[in-house]
């Protein structure tokens, strides 16, 4: 039974105020300085990377498993279990593996583990993580493995960062990952009390040695409390029961910032919110109408009211996180030309569009959203804005997530009579912001192109950009693709995502926000990125 957290509150109750004063110096959820209490907004559903489709599970085992290479806070690829990844030719990459690494169950890490990890993705929900590019792997010796791709794949290194390495025994059946994750990471799985907590403990035999970062993680235990209700999470943070809260409600951020005991850290994330148009339904089949609606989305007001002033409007799909593939200037240009809030111009466009179609406004339609708080709010503001004009009579429908997915991902989503409010999470590679949403082959139900947008030119550009390793050529193609997509306006981009964390100032030191949600807790110990966290004080 791990020691339960001693907090100032409990001490006051059981010991008496006088003696508690002496311990006030290291106050916080974990007075002894070696436990960090963080939170998860949902229960962990699986420990197996091939099954984990929810970000919560991925966050939870993120410190237990390690990939061959990791992507740091700026998007650079850093060696982790692999010491080098060298290209042999268009389709072959040679990976040199680190020596002297052991899994938490004591077995040695070798190339066969890597091959087994890749192979076991077949037929699982996360199959596309690997089989999008993987063809075969050849084990040359214990520390070298050659990976063969099915096609040239530009984001290969980045993709390796998303494949946690598991022991070979998991594939042969000798090890059942349902009982707990077994990896090579700085933390080992300790316990999971469903709906209550998930705990990992420091791995004393972690391979990292000699560098700016301590050899072993400074924090001994990381306990994730599972708190679903956001207001409870906030109350727990303010009350000192937890040290780190993820994604506090944006309403609360302003108040939290004023509290000295709490630090709020926000970071531009990879992803955006958008309004998807059903391209097969009038009037959304008309480009002028689509652009008109885009120009009525009150992005600045949304950022102010819904997101507490945090974040920036989105006018194109690729997040500014990828500074190599987009720029502020480009975004401004896209905004000016096609998307920026401009009721005057919107009116002209809608006039022209409705006239072309021969439809008499106001047109009755719906915006569909799921229950995510922020999304519901910005959808309301869009609805209100559209209703203020004479062109639309919009109502808002909210569905719980699964019902919503089955509607949004239904094969005939492009024929629905509703605009869809949606969020999208991208990654470190530009392809992740475009392909699944705008490639013709990814139309629902295959994946996520709910608008059924199909443009041969864009398809070609995306294909070329994916299969060439020349960064300049890729940049050029993605720019062209973005221009085309924004001009065609199958969706109205609303805002680029941000990630916000709030933590107790005296209890957490050195923590940084990772731009991608699934890597939220990376900063707890990431020697390959030169980052680590301590529990401050004490």
């Amino acid at each position: 039974m791990p020691p339960f957290t001693t907090s100032r509150r409990q001490l006051l109750r059981w010991v008496g105020a006088a003696s508690a004063a002496g311990l006030a110096g290291c106050a916080g959820g974990s007075g002894d300085g070696t436990e960090l209490v963080a939170t998860l907004g949902a229960d962990v559903s699986t420990y197996d990377p091939t099954q984990a489709n929810d970000t919560t599970s991925r966050k939870a085992f993120g410190l237990v498993y390690e990939p061959l290479v990791s992507v740091d806070f700026e998007g650079n690829v850093r060696p982790t279990l692999a010491t080098s990844v060298d290209q042999q030719d268009d389709l072959t990459w040679r990976v040199s593996l680190r020596e002297g690494v052991t899994f938490h169950d004591g077995s040695d890490f070798t190339a066969t583990d890597v091959k087994a990890t890749f192979e076991r993705y077949e037929g699982t929900p996360r199959e596309s993580d690997v089989f999008l590019w993987y063809d075969d792997a050849t084990v040359r010796d214990d520390t070298t493995i050659d990976v063969t791709l099915s096609e040239p794949y530009a984001p290969f290194r980045l993709s390796l960062g998303g494949v946690p390495i598991v022991p070979e025994a998991a594939e042969t059946g000798d090890l059942n990952l349902s009982n707990g994750p077994v990896g090579t990471g700085p933390y080992a799985f300790d316990t999971h009390e469903p709906d209550r907590l998930y705990r990992i403990v420091r791995n004393e035999d972690h391979w990292y040695a000699g560098g700016d970062v301590p050899d072993t993680p400074p924090i001994e235990t990381v306990t994730f409390r599972i708190i679903v209700e956001q207001s409870s999470q906030l109350a727990a943070l303010q009350g000192g029961d937890i040290d780190l809260a993820n994604n506090p409600p944006t309403d609360a951020v302003a108040d939290l910032r004023q509290d000295d005991a709490i630090t709020v850290s926000d970071r531009l994330a990879g992803g955006f919110e958008m309004l998807v148009f059903p391209l097969a339904t009038e009037p959304f089949s008309n480009r002028d109408v689509r652009e008109g609606v885009s120009r009525l989305v009150p992005r600045e007001e949304i950022i102010e009211s819904v997101y507490g002033g945090i974040g920036q409007p989105a006018y194109a799909p690729i997040s500014p996180l990828l500074s190599d593939y987009t720029s502020d200037a480009f975004l401004q240009e896209m905004g000016d030309e096609h998307m920026r809030y401009d009721p005057e111009q919107a009116r002209q466009l809608l006039d022209a569009g409705f006239a072309d179609l021969g439809i008499d406004p106001p047109y009755e339609t719906t915006i569909v959203t799921n229950e995510t708080g922020d999304r519901v709010r910005w959808a309301q503001l869009v609805r209100d804005e559209l209703n203020r004009t004479d062109y639309f009579d919009v109502s808002l429908e909210q569905f719980e997530w699964n019902t919503y997915i089955s509607r949004v991902l239904a094969g005939d989503s492009h024929r629905s009579d509703a605009m869809m409010a949606l969020g999208w999470s991208g990654g470190w590679d530009p392809d992740t912001y475009l392909r699944n949403l705008f490639y013709s082959g990814e139309a629902t139900p295959s994946c996520c192109n709910a608008a059924h947008y199909a443009n041969d030119e864009v398809d070609r550009l995306l294909d070329e950009a994916l299969t060439t390793y020349d960064t300049a050529a890729r940049r050029d193609r993605y720019e062209q693709a973005q221009r085309q997509v924004v001009a065609d306006a199958p969706v109205a981009f609303v805002r680029f995502g941000t990630r916000i964390e709030a933590f107790r100032t005296d209890a957490v030191d050195g923590f940084r926000t990772y731009p991608l949600d699934s890597g939220e807790f990376t900063a707890i110990y990431a020697p390959w990125a030169g980052t680590y966290t301590t529990t401050g004080g004490g």
Partner: protein, 334 residues
Amino acid sequence: MPRNPLDGRGRLRVRGFESDDADGDAEAAAATTPTTDRWRRAWTRFRRDHAAVAGLAVIAVMALLAVFARPIEVSGVVVQPVALAPYDPGASGIAPAYRPPSLAHPFGTDWAGRDVFSRVLYGGRYSLSIGVIAVSLALLVGVPLGAVAGYVGGWVDETIMRLVDVLYAFPFLVLAIALVAVFGQGFWKLVGALVAVGWIGYARLIRGEVLGVSERDYVLAARALGASDRRILRRHVVPNAIAPVIVQATLNVGTVVLSAAALGFLGLGLQPGTAEWGSMLSAGRDTLVGGEWWVTVFPGLAVFLFVLSINLVGDGVRDALDPDADTDTYREAR
């Protein structure tokens, strides 16, 4: 007091002293007088319960406020022109967001810059109508079914009661979540979910009452006289059995409003942004911790006041109709 139908034969009868009409129809006589007397007596008793009268007054005021909050239009004709609410409850951005209560905005503003006071006034429409409509519909379904089950008995009774048992055993929230997920959000869907669960209480209650009443003399008498079953049900059984059902229904209006609020809390209420008290409570719950208390406290008080008043009225009705009520009559109370 029911009269023996054989009484009038071969005997001198002096008429004019009974308060009932001197019609040879025994059942009619038995039905009308005690009933009208009873309702009148009940009203007098009700008036004596100060708390209940206060509750009724509060409800009346809330209803008036709800009706006169904003103009009502029926097919383009303005039926009610008064607007007590100073702002459009749905209009966002009319004021800065999250302003504390002030003269201009007595209840402050919410995240979208909407006036909370107007929303609370207007929100009464939803809560009142959901409560009244859901309970009325549930009565319309439950009372006939329960009455028939109790009176007819046999396999009809068995089937209906098994259905009641099955629904009774089913957790209400599961049913509500499922129904709303299937049919989507919206006023009528919410009402539908509440009715689907609500009718069973009344069915059971009235069946019990009917079973008790059916054995009474005047019903046996009416049947002996050849009155049809339906007539008996309508004119004898139901009116006498209805009292506990009325009490239950009144109390349930409050329960329904609370359930609607709970559904709103789970995200299953009305269209987002609707000025319904429960939805407002749920939408603003993060602000409780943040310190913008006015966003939830005022809608919460509204719900509280409404349900408390309706419960006081319900209690008053119960005491008035049946001042020596047994515990068992209200066994089904939730």
